[in-house]
Structures are given as C-alpha cells and as structure tokens.
Symmetry: C2
C-alpha cells in the first residue's frame, strides 16, 4: 500500500481519494481552502488533510488535480518537498504543454488524463468508481522513468479504468477531435441560433427545441472556464481540427447550395456509418 497525496480536491481529486482510500492506501489531501480539506476528511476521501503543500513530503505518489492553469504553479511550489523517488502525476485534459513543464520540475513525472467528467464540478459530486470502464491515458515521454510509469500503472489499474499509453502529442491531437472540437462546434450552434433577427421566430425556436438541440448543444453550454483552458493549452491541435471542420461544413453547404441531393445524401450516409466506430465498446490498446 502507498501513501498518496492528492493536491486539489474537486470532482477528480475527490473521486480518486475515495477509490484509493477504499483500496487501502493512505491518502493525504491538500486543498486551497481548509474547509475543502475538512469536507474531504468527513467524506472519507482522505485520511489527513490541510492546506500545507509540505504534506506531500511523506507521499510515494502525488496526484496534481488542480485546474490546468494551476498545474505549473502548483508543481513549482511543491518541488522543494519532492524526492527523486516521489512519483508525480497530473490529471490535466491537455498534455503536451503541461507534461513539458511538469517533467522539468518533478524528477519522476508521468502525465495522466483520467477521462471521466460530470456535468457538475467540485468535491460535492465526487464519487467512488468514477473511473471504472472509462479511459485513463498515461503519456510517457523519452524522459519518463520506466519504473515510475510502472508504479503509476499498477496504482491506477485497480480503479477499473481502461489504461491507454501514448505520447502527449498523440493524446492532444486525439482529444482535439473528440473532446475539444465538439465544445467549439456546439457553442457556435447556440450562438448562431441566438442571432435570429425576428424575436417572435427566436421565441418559437426556443419553444420548439427538443432532444436534438439539447444533445447537440450540451457540451457547448458547459462551464466557460473549461472550454477556454482547453483552447489555451491545446491551441494548435484545436485550430487544425477547426480548419478541417470548416472545410467539411463548407463541403456540406456547397451540396445544399447546389441542390445536389445525391451528394448530400452520400455525405450524411458516410457520417452515419462513421459514427458507430466512436461508440463501440472500448478495448485498451497500446498506441
């Protein structure tokens, strides 16, 4: 059993704490506000909690679970307390820039991204088994210590997650397509619908909107902090995905402008056929 420090006790940090505690590890929780650390103690997500980063001294493994833009500053503040043998990992949803910064600060760093989210954020919605059957991506680089990667893998496997390994760059390009691009596509839909110039028709559109609009607009109506951080930290991969998207939308629009219904039908038929591959039961590969 390990001593695990979790820095940042929100949905992900709190849920990791609940699972690791249940698995018999000793979990130390560090939050910005002492009330959060106390709440995590009361929930049984941590066995010791506080606001002092020096707590990580006794940990074998440190999970950084802050928002993306706090990972660098937090790692910098922690580094005096880390030994060579302290494995540090993060849970950030973007990896290239974060991994480069964090592996320069922490001698035994391994980037990670457990892909489990919820509509709400915060410790209040933390739960056990959040990661079960969900992807957990580890992103080693040539600098990663193989023993640190193995140790983290062994720790994470009992969460029941499907573990993937790939480079930070491969991760970021993959999530640009299936996670970050959908947010931008969906937010633009909401904004476009808001531009109807006739207020009566705008009201009618809002009244008639049902499951199709609700589903297509869901991720675009999420918290603006997350969308902004995704774009800021994964800017080049997201811009490449947006450029391809604009190309595809232009092609579809051209079919409608030309009243070329057989080409539009083919386009929609291809989309229907392609979607299935994103919904299959997931098998954990090495990539």
């Amino acid at each position: 059993m390990s001593t695990i420090a979790i820095v940042g006790l929100g949905l992900i940090g709190g849920s990791l704490g609940l699972d690791f505690s249940r698995l018999g590890h000793r979990v130390l929780g560090i939050a910005r506000r002492s009330a959060t650390a106390e709440a995590a103690l009361a929930l049984g997500a941590v066995q010791q909690g506080g606001t002092d980063l020096a707590l990580v001294r006794s940990a074998n493994v440190v999970f950084l679970c802050t928002p993306l833009d706090q990972l660098g500053p937090t790692a910098r503040a922690l580094s005096p307390y880390l030994g060579e043998e302290s494995v540090v990992t993060d849970v950030g949803s973007v990896k290239t820039a974060i991994v480069a910064e964090l592996e320069s600060l922490c001698p035994s760093f391994v980037g990670g991204h457990p892909m489990a989210g919820k509509a709400e954020a915060g410790l209040a919605v933390a739960q056990t088994d959040l990661f079960r059957h969900r992807p957990y991506v580890l992103t080693p680089t040539p600098q990663t210590q193989p023993w640190a990667l193995d140790q983290l893998t062994a720790l994470v496997e009992p969460l029941g997650a499907e573990i993937y390994r790939c480079s930070p760059q491969a991760h970021d390009r993959a999530v640009a397509w299936i996670s970050h691009l959908p947010v931008m596509v969906s937010a633009s839909l909401i904004q476009a619908c808001g531009q109807e110039p006739d207020p009566a028709i705008g009201d009618l559109a809002r009244a008639l909107a049902s499951s199709g609009f609700r589903d297509t607009s869901r991720v675009g109506g999420g918290v603006p902090e997350l969308g902004t951080l995704m774009a800021r930290y994964n800017r080049s991969a997201l811009l490449a995905a947006l450029a391809e998207y604009q190309q595809q939308l232009g092609q579809l629009t051209a079919h409608i402008e030309a009243a070329d219904w057989s080409s539009l039908y083919q386009y929609l038929e291809q989309a229907q056929a392609a979607r299935g591959a994103y919904l299959r039961e997931k098998l954990p590969p090495e990539c």
Copy 2:
C-alpha cells in the same frame, strides 16, 4: 367521434392511430404495402386497413403521414376522393413548400407538424402517448378555412400535445435553427474527425470518444434520408442558418487564433447562458 384516415403507417401515422383509436375514433389506415396495413390492424392502431386510397372517402379528417417527398404525389392521388368538407392535414417536418402544394390540391387543408421523433422509424416503434407534452405545430395560411383549423385543433388537443400556431414560413425558420442546423453541424463534426491523417491517432480518437462526442454527433449520425429531405424542402432557411453559423464559428476561431482568451471566455459564457432558454418547460403560445 370522427372517422379518421391515416395515409402512411410509420412511427407517426401508427402512433396517431393508436391514440385516436383509444380515444374512440374510427381509424382507417392506408399503407403502400398490405402487410403494413395488416400489422396496424393487429396492433389496434386502425380499425380498417388496406392499400386503396379510395378508403379516405368515408373519412371526416385525413392525416397524410408519408415521407416529405411523397406528400405531394399522395395528395394528388387522393384528391378525387375528397369532398369540400374533408379536412386534410399532414405531419411533414417542413411546411412552406408542402403547405403551398397541398392547399392547392385539398380544399380544406391545414398544415401540421407533431414534433415527436425517435431514433428508429416505422410502425414497429409506434406507441401510445408519443405526442404528450411535445409540440404540435399547426400552420394556417390566409387560405385556411377557420372551421377546418378549429376542427383539427379539437381533434389533436386530446393527444396531450402542446399546440402552437404560426405561419409555415415562421415554422420553417424556427426549425431550421433548432432542428435542421444541428443535423448539419453534427454530421460535419463526424466527417471532420474522420480526416485525421495519422491512422493511430484516428484509432485513439475513436477509442477515447465518450459522452461529449456521442451527444454532439447523435443527430448528425441519423438516417441520411431525413437530413436530405430537411435540406431539400427547407433549403433557403437552412442556408441562412448555415451562413450565420459559419460566421459564429469564424468569430470563435478568430479568438483562438489571436489567443484572446478573455473574448473566448465571454463567447462561451454567452453560449452557456443562452442555452437555458431552449431547455425551459414549454408553454404553448400563439405566434
């Protein structure tokens, strides 16, 4: 109680038949294939069924429930059997072009659009109460007979639907935003993701895709027949919506290109705030 003829026994026609039968009306069902009419009889969706359009002769009200591109030909074939006092309505998801054609063929025509769909189509998934708490839009024009509109309204109210009345043009502009634009936005997302040039990253993207991608891509992965008919019959309103969408997407992309994170934040914050108005409990207005 009325004698109601339903022409086209798919999801919508079959479900109307089940509800009207239960409400005590006499329902006649007409399908292209006699096996479909027999199945509708067996389900209790109709009390008399067949493939002969002359059956509508004894009906007070006729519901045309065929695909959009069959509504005109069906109405033309029916017109010899219709009296001045036969109210004819349709359930097409686009109204301007359909209403213009059908009111020239049927003396007492009233356009309609019950907005209840399912992932699957066909009589096999027909059900009672499909229309309860869902919008049912009626689209009278200056030519519509007020008594025919009143008669249809009285017939439809017991289905438990929320009845809206507006012009065919207002209907088509409203559904272009919240129903047809989402299909195109969503199909383009699936197609864009399929363009990743590195097959390993494409595989990873498909493996990591989860609820965000699933929801945003759902309507774009629907049956290509429906999407093509929407675009064909609502071409100008959809092209206007697509042009505005491309404008909005361009604005969001420009914020990311300029690394203008505060403008991106504001954009996403507006989207988050605006979405709520599309999800409120619906109150039936006149428009």
